[in-house]
């Protein structure tokens, strides 16, 4: 029993990070139909900038803020210089652009920072709490609460503010949104900024547990993408659920079956779900117009 609880704790922690990446995917996808494979790099920037700013003597909270600002700026620049000029290109062309951006950002990070693994002290100490015989790191709690807070804030933003509603409108129908006077170009830029900030916050929160290095982004983007698809592409709630499921599956199969094949089991389940529900768990069937 304590074993199961332990796997659930670690699964939810990892899952919360995947959920944040998946939410980032979903936001950008909804606003612009772009699958942004550079999403994992925002998470990497969050952790790396915080570490190097902290190493330079900046207090951690300020360093974290700097990291989030840097990632947001990178998100905006990515949109302005790489996505915007290719407007109207096919989906797969845009995907290759974001993959190029991801390789580029990784390359820059390897030069500006370094190629080692880094971590900084957990925010509330590293003494685990004992719950039902399992150990729960305070930092895990912070990751879970932080992820939850982001999702709630995002929901509030999208339902209660005019800008948020403009984002929802742009996702629903870009042409119609433009007709009612929404600056859809700015909204797409906003979606990149918000996604980048969310990714960076995930990176800031997870680094004390999982460490970070210049190339953590690839795997995160892959898992986050899978999670978003599992939940149903374009559905933020689906992205959160998908992220948590992928995290739990991974940790449970690592614990009970084989740590070498933990990702295999996660992907087998994803394949199984997609065969049964081709639009993901919460996705809606698309209608093709001929």
């Amino acid at each position: 029993m304590p074993e199961l609880l332990q796997f659930l704790f670690s699964g939810l922690t990892v899952g919360a990070i995947y959920a944040l990446v998946a939410v980032g995917f979903t936001l950008i996808y909804n606003a612009s139909d772009v699958i942004n494979f550079a999403q994992g790099e925002f998470v990497m920037l969050g952790g790396m900038v915080t570490f190097f700013a902290a190493a330079a003597g900046v207090p951690i909270p300020l360093a974290a803020l700097m990291a989030i600002v840097v990632a947001t700026a990178v998100g905006l620049i990515l949109h302005r210089l790489a996505i915007e000029p290719a407007r109207g290109a096919s989906a797969v062309t845009l995907i290759i652009i974001t993959i190029g951006a991801s390789i580029f950002l990784r390359g820059v990070a390897a030069i500006v920072f370094d190629k080692n693994f880094h971590s900084y002290p957990a925010f509330l100490g590293s003494e685990p709490w004992r719950i039902g015989g399992a150990a729960l790191l305070p930092q895990s709690m912070i990751v879970l609460i932080g992820a939850g807070a982001i999702v709630v804030a995002l929901w509030a933003f999208m339902t209660m503010t005019l800008t948020g509603k403009a984002l929802v409108a742009t996702s629903a129908n870009r042409l119609a949104a433009r007709l009612v006077g929404i600056n859809t170009g700015a909204i797409v830029g906003l979606s990149f900024a918000v996604s980048a900030a969310i990714g960076a916050i995930g990176g800031v929160l997870m680094t004390p547990i999982t460490l970070t290095s210049y190339d953590v982004g690839t795997l995160l983007a892959l898992k986050g993408f899978a999670a978003a698809m599992l939940g149903g592409m374009g559905n933020p709630l689906g992205a959160v659920i998908g992220g948590l499921i992928v995290g739990l599956l991974e940790q449970l199969s690592a614990g009970y079956v084989s740590s070498a094949y933990k990702d295999a089991i996660a992907f087998l389940v994803i394949l199984g779900v997609l065969f049964a529900m081709p639009q993901g768990l919460l996705g809606r069937a698309a209608v093709e117009r001929v």
């Binding site: 699958i35 290109a89 797969v92 290759i96 652009i97 580029f104 899978a226 001929v290």
Partner: protein, 314 residues
């Protein structure tokens, strides 16, 4: 002249000429090696292009099939005593069979869902190669015995230049033949609209499956060649990044253009060679160039340039 250029087989003839003449222009075995690498990757990309560019189905997992071909010529001779040539065909058969079996359920998915399913498939295959260390040597990989044909050992770059070059010409010929046949037209109809294709009486699942199996076979052939050529195979061969590389080659060169796929493969094989002089900045440059190619030539190099030429002429 104009119509000769447009003729579908022009690509194959041009390719055959390039393959035949190039060895006399290349100054060293190092260059022959690079050319052979380009040919090998081109074989996989020509196959992937049939699936993505013509039938319009994405795959982020083709490195898996590439890996099956590669590991077949490594594991077969080493652990089961099968001659390399037989292992080569066994690998192709396994890749084709696997594609046939998983293709039907997977190809029901569309767009990004198909992308994630093929991605999962590729990762599953790569994971088997990483973890079944008893057979595959695990993450470090394993040596591949040299190909021996009737007492002759294929090990020099020039030998592999000819083997891969001739295979590429044949592969392109088969692809062009297929594209110009009713099957090719069915592929393109599915690409444009599945619903419309179905109303025309095209058996959509069957043609999608055919494209998938064929592209898997192309990938397996290329994978086996690369393993025999390098005399070494590691799980990186079958990894996610390799799948991405294939897709990037196909897209940068131009989806739906056989010659485009080959140009794309050439660009992505040559770039790292040229960029090594930038040392640490290699990846930065690679990423920048990938973005620049796609921003300025969104249709891919070959179709975009062809369009530019045409505009100038009219």
């Amino acid at each position: 002249m104009q119509s000769a250029l447009r003729h579908p087989y022009t690509v194959v003839i041009a390719l055959a000429l390039i393959v035949a003449v190039l060895p006399f222009a290349l100054p060293s075995t190092f260059h022959l090696r690079i050319a052979a690498l380009i040919f090998i990757f081109s074989i996989a990309v020509v196959g992937l292009n049939l699936l993505m560019g013509f039938a319009g189905q994405v795959s982020l997992g083709h490195a898996g099939f590439f890996g099956i071909g590669a590991y077949a010529v490594a594991v077969g001779p080493t652990h089961f005593g099968i001659p390399s040539l037989a292992a080569f065909f066994v690998g192709i058969a396994i890749a084709g069979l696997l594609a046939y079996l998983v293709g039907r359920p997977i190809l029901k998915l569309k767009g990004h869902y198909l992308a994630v399913a093929t991605l999962g498939l590729g990762i599953l295959i790569a994971m088997v190669f990483t973890n079944e260390a008893r057979f595959t040597g695990g993450p470090d990989g394993m040596p591949v015995p040299r190909l021996e044909l009737f007492g002759w050992r294929a090990r020099t770059p020039i030998a592999w230049y000819w083997i891969s070059g001739v295979t590429l010409v044949i592969a392109a010929l088969i692809a062009v033949n297929l594209i110009e046949s009713p099957t090719g037209r069915a592929f393109r109809a599915i690409h444009d609209s599945e619903t419309a294709a179905r109303t025309l009486g095209i058996d959509v699942p069957r043609y999608k499956l055919a494209a998938f199996v064929l592209s898997a076979i192309y990938a397996a052939v290329a994978g086996a060649y690369l393993a025999l050529f390098d005399a070494l195979v590691t799980p990186v061969t079958a990894g996610f990044l390799r799948s991405i590389e294939f897709v990037t080659m196909a897209v940068i060169g131009g989806l739906g253009s056989i010659f485009g796929g080959i140009v794309g493969a050439a660009v992505l094989v040559l770039l790292p060679q040229v960029l090594t002089s930038f040392h640490d900045y290699e990846h930065v440059m690679l990423g920048l160039l990938m973005m620049a190619f796609m921003i300025f030539l969104p249709q891919g190099i070959v179709p975009s340039l062809a369009r530019l030429l045409q505009r100038r002429r009219t």
